[in-house]
């Protein structure tokens, strides 16, 4: 059977060497660094001050408005400081430094509903929001917001995203093998919360064993399972929706515009933990790997653990490893310091040898960027327009539709930093629009 997929995209080497390694628990660190901004939206407002004693899972930051998310303590212990601290995306963020007393003392008896599936959609969404669950595939969009679309939009299908299309990463793969029931229960809660009819689990065909694990656990309940072709960026929402449902999210729109909500498998499990056991999101599974890591592993890590400790647990950086990335090799964020903490959206901590920078040549118009852009854009044109600061033209040619997957720059034989130019163009267009809005 021909596997479903989206148009264009790329086939980078997979290098998923840790796929066979079970998830290990990284011991909680002596100090955790918990940023108040770990999500798309406004930072949470702190509820603690230095000197306070906090319990495991205690809420330490309150969601600031609807586009925000709460933050919880990943350990029990004492708040040492609230300070600006290194953060994965570069600019420092207000962070709670919490000293771990090693007791993991919880705040009290967690609330366990007798039958989580009997809860109302509102109650599920409330519990998901209270637990600070955000999209754990990398985008960190607050899940409670995603489950409650505007009233005029109806959701008919929930897609559970188990694609993990970035090379090297295997955390979601392991989670599907080791916790399939929790993922499926979480998926059912998501379906109930979104008032949807269908649930489809989409997994790339390089992880057929993961899909089989889920299928066995489902035991014939009304969940659909689909293998999609292994191709990057299959895990991007718009690509997965196109592959599974043949629906296209309209330009500038969101999945709910076509009646869909997409949730990553890790997020589904976090939803289950939040609703069934009242457990906030304070730990996650990630892959620490890549050629620069001595002993790559899949790990369950407390939020707030400095990546230095994660890397040390995996045998440290190898000689010559000078590029440390949050996320995957294609969309990941390079780090200048190993002091940054693991946050809710950290899918992986990878290390590479950066290699010598290659000389950029003129565009020879080979059209590869056009042939591989999953959004149907003309990256070389968008980059050229940004280079000459032709903001209106860049917008007309669709620069704001770019999902920054990096396929264009990956394939460019002239080594042009296409995505960097396109990002510049996008920020120029955005700046011009916001300027208009306030004028």
């Amino acid at each position: 059977m021909k596997r479903r997929t989206f148009r264009r995209g790329i086939h980078p080497p997979e290098r998923k060497a840790t796929a066979g390694k079970p998830i290990e628990v990284l011991p909680a660190p002596e100090k955790t660094y918990v940023p108040f901004l770990q999500h798309f939206g406004k930072p949470a407002s702190p509820l603690v001050k230095p000197g306070d004693t906090v319990a495991l899972g205690q809420k330490i930051g309150e969601a600031a408005g609807s586009f925000s998310s709460s933050v919880h303590s990943p350990v029990s212990g004492k708040v040492l400081a609230l300070d600006l601290h290194p953060f994965p995306s570069g600019a420092p963020v207000l962070t709670a430094v919490i000293e771990n007393d090693g007791r993991d003392a919880p705040a009290g008896e967690p609330e366990r509903p007798a039958d989580p599936f009997a809860l109302s959609p509102e109650a599920i969404i409330q519990k998901v929001g209270e637990a600070g669950v955000v999209g754990m595939g990398g985008a960190s969009f607050p899940t409670a917001v995603k489950l409650a679309p505007p009233p005029q939009k109806t959701i008919d299908t929930v897609i559970i995203n188990g694609c993990e299309c970035e090379p090297v990463q295997t955390g979601d793969h392991r989670l599907m093998l080791e916790s399939p029931r929790e993922i499926l229960w979480g998926a059912e809660l998501i379906r109930l919360a979104a008032r949807a009819g269908r649930v489809i689990v989409g997994v790339e065909d390089n992880k057929a064993d993961a899909l089989e694990s889920l299928r066995r656990s489902a035991g014939g309940r009304g969940v659909e399972f689909a293998l999609v072709r292994t191709k990057y960026p299959q895990g991007a929402e718009k690509m997965l929706i196109q592959a599974l449902l043949r629906r296209e999210v309209p330009r500038g729109g969101l999945p709910f515009d076509v009646g869909v909500v997409v949730q990553n498998v890790s997020t589904a499990k976090a939803v289950w933990d939040a609703v069934s056991r009242g457990r906030p999101l304070t730990e996650r599974v990630l892959t620490c790997g890549g050629p620069g890591i001595a002993d790559p592993k899949n790990l369950l890590v407390r939020i707030g653990t400095p990546i230095r400790q994660v890397i040390e647990f995996c045998g440290g950086l190898k000689e010559g490893a000078d590029l440390v990335v949050y996320g995957g090799p294609l969309m990941g964020l390079a780090q200048s310091t190993l002091d940054s903490p693991v946050i809710k959206s950290t899918t992986g901590i990878l290390a590479f040898a950066a290699g010598r920078p290659e000389t950029e040549l003129a565009c020879i118009r080979c059209a590869r960027c056009v042939d591989h852009c999953p959004m149907g854009l003309m990256p070389t044109r968008l980059a050229g327009l940004a280079r000459f600061d032709l903001v209106a033209e860049a917008e007309k040619w669709g620069t704001m539709d770019c999902i920054e997957c990096g396929c264009c720059q990956y394939v460019c034989p002239s080594r042009i930093p296409l995505l960097s130019w396109i990002r510049l163009g996008k920020s120029r267009v955005a700046a011009r629009k916001s300027g208009k809005g306030t004028a």
Binding site: E248, V249, P250, A334, L361, G376
Partner: protein, 325 residues
């Protein structure tokens, strides 16, 4: 294990291994069968022409790099050498060498470097060189010698297309056979005669996805369709589509000239129009124009429309709804 010393770069952090230099190397490799065929059919003349155009093209490129204070290492990107080989391939085998040298200077100088070098030119450089020579030396550019494998009277020797156009070859029954056309056992330009050799190289480029299949397919389909209509209507007056595809360097143009990245469109729809246009224009020239060939002017003509085609035919963005204002 320390913070300082870590490299900061924006994503993506991985790159495909293919580079401009490797692409150019593949194109040169794909030209090898046709080069060997020309050496077989035209012996020393082929060697001389390739050497002269290569020297002229590389020297011109080097002079421009010098003037612009650019490193001479870029000479090795292979693009000037490809221009040299392609230019030699579309010259008559017995062209005086000083004319070939001049063609090389014009191809790289006027055809490419005055626009800013690799990636910036509008017209195919090799064809610019050839068009210049055709205008400057019309007699020398239409004087042909037979290949070494053909024992004929050299005084009145002509290419199959010229035979067809000016010597009434179809009714006299002297038209070259399809077999000779396919192998290259005919008169013609240095590298344009052996369809077999060109197809071998083209197949390699298609297999490696170095060139887009739409362009050669569109050119061949369009000239076949155009000449086919006339052939079906009056086979005694018009040659078959197969004859047209195999003659007059059409495959050289379709596989190696029209597919030049820099001077062909980026998007699929524009590529189709561009390719169909090349086939149609060369068909028009062959059947109704003053030249027996036509692929050269057809490619140059359609090169001109590439920016326009790209502006008019923006590909559909995912999620875009068309047909509404």
């Amino acid at each position: 294990m320390n913070g300082p010393g870590l490299i900061i770069e924006s994503s993506p952090h991985w790159r495909d291994r293919d580079t401009v230099r490797r692409i150019m190397a593949r194109v040169l490799l794909a030209l090898v069968p046709a080069v060997l065929a020309s050496l077989y059919f035209f012996r020393l003349r082929a060697l001389l022409l390739y050497s002269v155009t290569a020297a002229a093209c590389l020297a011109t490129e080097a002079a421009f790099f010098r003037a612009r204070r650019k490193p001479l290492g870029s000479l090795l990107d292979g693009s000037a050498l490809i221009t040299a080989v392609l230019l030699a391939m579309c010259l008559p085998p017995n062209l005086p060498l000083e004319m070939a040298a001049l063609g090389g200077v014009v191809a790289v100088g006027i055809g490419k470097q005055v626009f800013g070098g690799l990636g910036h030119n509008i017209f195919n450089p090799a064809l610019v060189g050839r068009a210049f020579l055709a205008a400057a030396f019309p007699a020398a550019m239409t004087t042909w010698i037979p290949p070494n494998t053909l024992a004929v009277d050299t005084a009145t020797f002509a290419t199959p297309l010229a035979d067809l156009r000016f010597h009434d070859a179809l009714t006299r029954g002297t038209l070259a056979s399809i077999g000779d056309l396919f192998l290259g056992n005919i008169g013609g330009t240095l590298g344009g005669t052996s369809a077999l050799a060109l197809l071998l190289g083209g197949a390699y480029l298609l297999y490696r996805k170095t060139i887009d299949w739409r362009i050669p397919a569109g050119v061949v389909a369009s000239i076949s369709l155009f000449t086919g209509v006339f052939w079906l209507a009056a086979p005694e007056r018009y040659a078959s589509p197969l004859f047209h595809v195999l003659s007059g360097g059409l495959l050289l143009g379709a596989l190696f000239m029209a597919t030049d990245y820099v001077t062909s469109p980026l998007t699929s729809s524009a590529k189709w129009i561009y390719a169909l246009g090349i086939g149609l224009v060369s068909g028009l020239i062959r059947l109704f124009g003053g030249y027996p060939e036509g692929i050269m002017y057809a490619v140059l003509f359609m090169n001109m429309f590439v920016p326009l085609l790209e502006s008019l035919l923006r590909p559909r963005i995912l999620g875009e709804r068309r047909g509404r204002r």
